[in-house]
């Protein structure tokens, strides 16, 4: 890879950094309890919670850091944080 003049870059390469490897705790999303409010997606600092075709939500575990904000803020307590087994 040759250097870009002036230390510049076009979008995309941050995705090379798979921050999912940082996790200690992993969220599990219970669609049975989910009311599709979307707060988990709104409040995720990574932007890695995605809506599916049915309107439910799931994290992208490639990038999810396991911070737990989604679990804390879910009004239906539909998200649980569990210690991840590695």
């Amino acid at each position: 890879m040759t250097l870009a003049v002036g230390c510049r870059a076009r979008p995309g390469k941050s995705r090379d950094n798979k921050t999912g490897s940082w996790r200690v705790f992993k969220p599990s999303f219970d669609h049975e309890k989910c009311s599709k409010c979307g707060m988990c997606q709104t409040l995720c600092p990574e932007g890695c919670v995605h809506e599916d075709a049915e309107g439910f939500f799931d994290p992208d575990f490639t990038y999810c850091k396991g911070c737990g904000i989604c679990a804390t803020e879910c009004p239906k307590e539909a998200i649980a944080m569990n210690q991840e087994e590695k």
Binding site: A4, A9, K13, Y63, K65, I69
Partner: protein, 300 residues
């Protein structure tokens, strides 16, 4: 699992912010409000560092970082250039409280005085976080930082938060707002207003920092809410220098906010510091009086 819907995030995954980072969430929400026709000018600080370690960039809009103090001046030059080129992109400055309240004051004052068209978003995590939690002009009274540490002879930071909104109102900024990641829809609305109001506009976003304030990353939003509910952070709007909208609250005692964070632990351990807590309560009470925060619940 059903098919994922496409979302367009202009602040991408893979950035290196701490898990639960209030500033990262701020960046995401601001970019959702701003859209693709935006040029971001970022000061040195947490946001710039966790989003652009060469060659990885999390930004999907044109973005520039120059120095710590000069984002407003760089933005002034960009604005002039866009004018000459007949281009319509909007300029959004993203800077931390250190860059805004302290080192950037000269450049901000000049840019606001000249009346350039941009939206200045300050993500306020109330200290110099990227360098390891040092006191800034935005650090609240009695907060412990590494340069205003609590100790046997000290209760931490001795000065109240600098009132940046008032300073910029004095510069004639047409639109000023304070916001919080606890109320994301409100935050986005305010950012949009700031971007679409001609002239230099300012939004100060409360962005709690789990690493710097000493709380677990999953509490970021809850703590941001408590700041507002205790009256220590006020969400308001100013149009042409006059406060127009305030988020009213049923106020909780400041203690409920202070006890959640290690930076205020010295107010409770080893000994409860009632006099200091009372002084902080007085700050909240003054805010309530100044902005009309209190919802009066009347028992019929």
């Amino acid at each position: 699992m059903a098919e994922k819907k496409k979302t367009c995030e202009l602040f991408d995954c893979g950035h290196r912010a701490c898990g639960g980072c209030g500033a990262a969430l701020t960046a995401r929400l601001v970019m959702q409000a701003a859209g693709t026709e935006t040029i971001v000018v970022n000061s040195t600080g947490c946001m710039e560092v966790f989003s652009t370690p060469y060659p990885e960039t999390a930004w999907k809009v044109p973005w520039i970082h120059s120095l710590f103090e000069n984002a407003s001046a760089v933005a002034s030059g960009i604005e002039a250039s866009l004018k000459k080129q007949g281009r319509k992109e909007k300029i959004v400055i993203m800077a931390g409280d250190g860059a805004t309240f302290d080192i950037g004051m000269i450049c901000i004052s000049g840019a606001f005085e000249r009346g350039h068209d941009f939206a200045y978003i300050c993500y306020d995590n109330e200290a110099y976080m990227n360098t390891g939690i040092q006191r800034s002009g935005a650090t609240p009274y009695d907060a412990s930082t590494t340069t205003s540490p609590a100790g046997t002879c000290s209760f931490g930071n001795r000065r109240p938060k600098k009132d940046m909104p008032a300073i910029l109102a004095a510069h004639g900024a047409p639109y000023i707002a304070t916001a919080s990641i606890a109320y994301p829809a409100d935050l986005k609305q305010k950012v949009e207003k700031a971007i679409n109001t001609p002239g230099p506009c300012y939004v100060q976003v409360h962005a709690p920092c789990c690493t710097g304030w000493g709380f677990e990353g999953d509490q970021t939003i809850a703590i941001a809410k408590l700041a507002i509910e205790t009256g220590l952070w006020v969400n308001f709007e100013m149009v042409d220098g006059k406060v127009t909208k305030v988020k009213k609250v049923v106020r909780k005692p400041v203690e409920e906010y202070l006890k959640t964070q290690k930076r205020f632990r010295h107010l409770f351990k080893p000994k409860r510091q009632d006099a200091e807590i009372a002084l902080i309560q007085a700050i909240a009470d003054r805010n309530a009086g100044k902005y009309g925060l209190d919802i009066n619940l009347r028992k019929e």
